[in-house]
């Protein structure tokens, strides 16, 4: 059985390697999220969920929400490989002083997932998108 264990590990690893994400050179994720209009709906849905989220609403209570929406749409569009330019400030600068926790980050991810579910974005597309945001956690939390 020892051999079959390593076989399974090997198989799962080669599966992972075989199916690993392409680098963000194509715009297929942008298309799958419904282009700019789709991304705007997702961002607005996320902000609506945040507005009802006791865990993190406090951070957004006094911000210029139109600006945040516009910058988030640009940012998500760029992350997804779309033809946009991000004109906001660096993530580190924006979130400085908030001292966001790991839990705050996960709460926002949950609100984003809820918004994507409402837009009927398939789980596999959601995963691709979240995979591009996850590495940015370090620029956002504990600043």
């Amino acid at each position: 059985m020892g051999r079959s264990f390593w076989l399974i590990v090997g198989l799962s690893l080669s599966l992972l390697a075989g199916c690993a994400q392409q680098p963000a050179k194509d715009d297929s994720l942008y298309q799958d999220l419904g282009q700019r209009a789709g991304i705007q709906k997702i961002v607005e849905g996320m902000l609506l969920h945040i507005a009802q989220d006791d865990r993190i609403y406090k951070y957004f209570a006094k911000v210029d929400i139109d600006r945040v929406r516009d910058k988030l749409v640009e940012r998500f569009c760029v992350e997804a490989g779309g033809p946009c330019t991000y004109t906001g400030d660096s993530l580190e600068e924006v979130h400085k002083g908030m001292n966001l926790s790991r839990s705050d980050f996960n709460a926002l991810v949950e609100d984003l997932i809820a918004a994507m579910n409402e837009q009927h974005i398939p789980v596999t597309t959601q995963n691709r998108f979240i995979a591009r945001l996850a590495p940015e956690r370090g620029e956002v939390i504990e600043k």
Partner: protein
Amino acid sequence: MALSLSMYLNPVVLASVVGACAAWVSPAADAEQGRLIATGGASSIEGGAGGGIIPWAMLAGYDEQGEWGGNAFATHVDLPDYTLDVVGAAASYGNRVEISYAHQRFDLGSLVSKLNLPEDNLTQDIFGVKVRLFGDLIYDQLPQVSAGLEYKHQNDFLIPSLVGAKRDSDVEGYVTASRLFMGAAFGYNVVVNAGLRYSRANETGLMGFGGDRRDTRSVLKEGGAAILFNPHWAVGMDYREKPDNLSFAGESDWADFFVGWFPNKHVSVVLAYARLGEIATLDNQNGTYLSVQGSF
């Protein structure tokens, strides 16, 4: 503490267990539960967060820094000649350290009359501690790596001693790593887990520790993998290598194939096919595994 098997299989009792857990967690509804759903794992048969038959590197509950989390669970394994029932609980703090307790009861079924055994069940208590050493299941560069210790005490040592087991309690350790790979299998998230255990437990300790054939600890491989079809449904498997310390019977490595359902951060259910092989001379002990967990 030992609840009978019919209690677990009775859906009314099961529902009330789930209900009780839900009621019990509601005072703690302000607990922040800062981790993402399903990252508290299922409850392994030894009490800690994991898959079914092995611990994984994640910690019980949904706590992040500065928060508490935990769970209580009941598991029933129905084999051709035996049944295994486990109840237990685990708590963790700050996604850093986990403590756990499990009580296992192994009913010897037909073996009792076949061998004229003096007892019809074996029980064991397991106290565990697990520490996340570094890394993160989802974020950060490194996978989440945890190390754990388990103190096990076998409560009915007569039968194990008759077949050559050397002691009724022991400590064992393990190191385990888990990582979620986003979109890794056909776009779905995959969690992969691999670990090493240093143990001389016979049938995880239900048949005592050490034996006539070998009385030193062995390094044993453990591993598992699961695909998440969405944040609420997981399908996967666990594998656990086991030592072979007693000459009276062979001891098989174990595997299970599971479906896990995490409807919310308070309840989860795991249904599995457990391949436990030969146990105490009876072969082909392969059957169903059902585990219900309430988290807070």
